[in-house]
């Protein structure tokens, strides 16, 4: 289940705090395989898929929605950043899926000259945790402009696997 996977990843964060400079790069976001409507790159990390007619996979669409309900208040609309928090469409070019997940789960605090910059930990917020991959693939799609600003107009149908995972994750105690 995604929640417990997320918990395991939290360990990784503690070690990667403050080491963004030598973080591992994410690799080519090109989708090389699809499992039940979810797409993966050559490294096996989740990624987006946009068809020539602009139809996005459902996870990317879901990520668009979750990003704009959980993250955009700080990180700005369309993942383009704000005066308060960085543009995540650029961040996901610098570090990989594991590091991304770690930061979101564990949060991050940056204290400089009394100027606190706080990324909250989302570990116990299901609205982010159950959709972490969705948000990630949406950000990747924004990083290459494969998906433009605003709501993607066309999307694939919601895969049954998505519904199952959603129900399980959102109803988990």
């Amino acid at each position: 289940m995604r929640l417990s996977l997320a918990g395991a990843l939290a360990l990784g964060v503690i070690m990667s705090v403050g080491t963004a400079a030598n973080a591992e790069a994410p690799g080519d976001p090109k989708a090389v395989k699809s499992v039940d409507g979810k797409y993966f790159d050559a490294k096996g990390d989740p990624t987006y898929n946009v068809k020539p007619d602009g139809t996005v996979d459902f996870y990317t669409f879901s990520g668009y929605r979750r990003y704009h309900s959980e993250c955009h208040v700080c990180h700005g609309p369309n993942a383009e950043g704000s005066t308060y928090a960085p543009a995540l469409k650029d961040s996901v070019k610098r570090f990989d899926y594991a590091e991304f997940s770690g930061i979101v789960i564990g949060g991050r605090e940056n204290k400089q000259a009394g100027n606190d910059s706080v990324m909250p930990a989302f570990a116990d917020n299901k609205n982010a945790m159950c959709y972490l991959d969705d948000i990630y693939v949406y950000l990747r799609a924004r990083s290459t402009e494969a998906v433009g600003r605003g709501r993607p107009e066309k999307k694939e149908d919601k895969p049954a696997a998505f519904s199952d995972a959603e129900t399980k994750c959102m109803s988990a105690k």
């Binding site: 929605r65 609309p77 299901k126 709501r151």
Partner: protein, 312 residues
Amino acid sequence: MTIWARNLDTGAVKWVYQLTPHDEWDYDAINEVILADQEIGGVKRKTAVHFDRNGFAYTLDRTNGELLVAEKYDPAVNWATKVDMDKSSKTYGRPLVVDKYSTEKNGEDTNTQGVCPAALGSKDEQPASFNPETGLFYVPTNHVCMDYEPFRVSYTAGQPYVGATLEMFPAGRVLGDKTDNTGNFIAWDARTGKIVWSDKEQFSVWSGTVTTAGGLAFYGTLEGYLKAVDLKTGKELYKFKTPSGIIGNVITYEHAGKQYVAVLSGVGGWAGIGLAAGLTKGNEGLGAVGNYASLSNYTALGGVLTVFALPN
């Protein structure tokens, strides 16, 4: 979604009236309730009048909560056909919801399109005013509809909690009447539930209003105009461009024998969020941005009190 009448001294509930039972559109009833004594059907009534987010204007007998009038104060309103006024009906006092616009019936992940009004409401918190001489209410309104797509969400204390994406647009897109104004300033007869006159405004009228014994109604616009119109006809008699969009309340007062009219300008709030937060895309700001996108061509951020002295 409910108006409560309570005893001032004890807090005990006198009556309640629920405006949008089981709200599916974000029409929470945060708007003001105005008390006015009016004659309805030949009977003098102590009424309470409320212009709800849901697009209906309600006239209630405030002594006992009896519903006297409930009518749409923007003709675009479509989520319910009407409020059931039949006392013998099981649904008495309830809005009759149109299935097509029920975000719950259409369900999770379905984009329910063309719902009027938008979540902003046909009016939001900006207060209307009552003029006892004309017997009419002067109401700042929104003329905006929305697409509304709910998705699953779970509550986490202290975290943002939004379970839908919204897009808002001028009501003309739903009405198909080729209009693109997003506001109207109207005179409303709460005894009959009818619009007496309606002045189109390019943007939602997001200011509070005030009327004077001199026969004028004042309101502000999102482009920054303070306007004075004739109470009886709605004819515009004066306007002045303040430095920023007006979402404040127009006030009038007397000082040392002279009458003044004053208003705070400084665009913001839901309608002005795009401008205030630098947002640019339609669904941002809970869908308010697309709708008010061109606002930045007309005004800028600001915060100024503008005071007008009336001639002696």
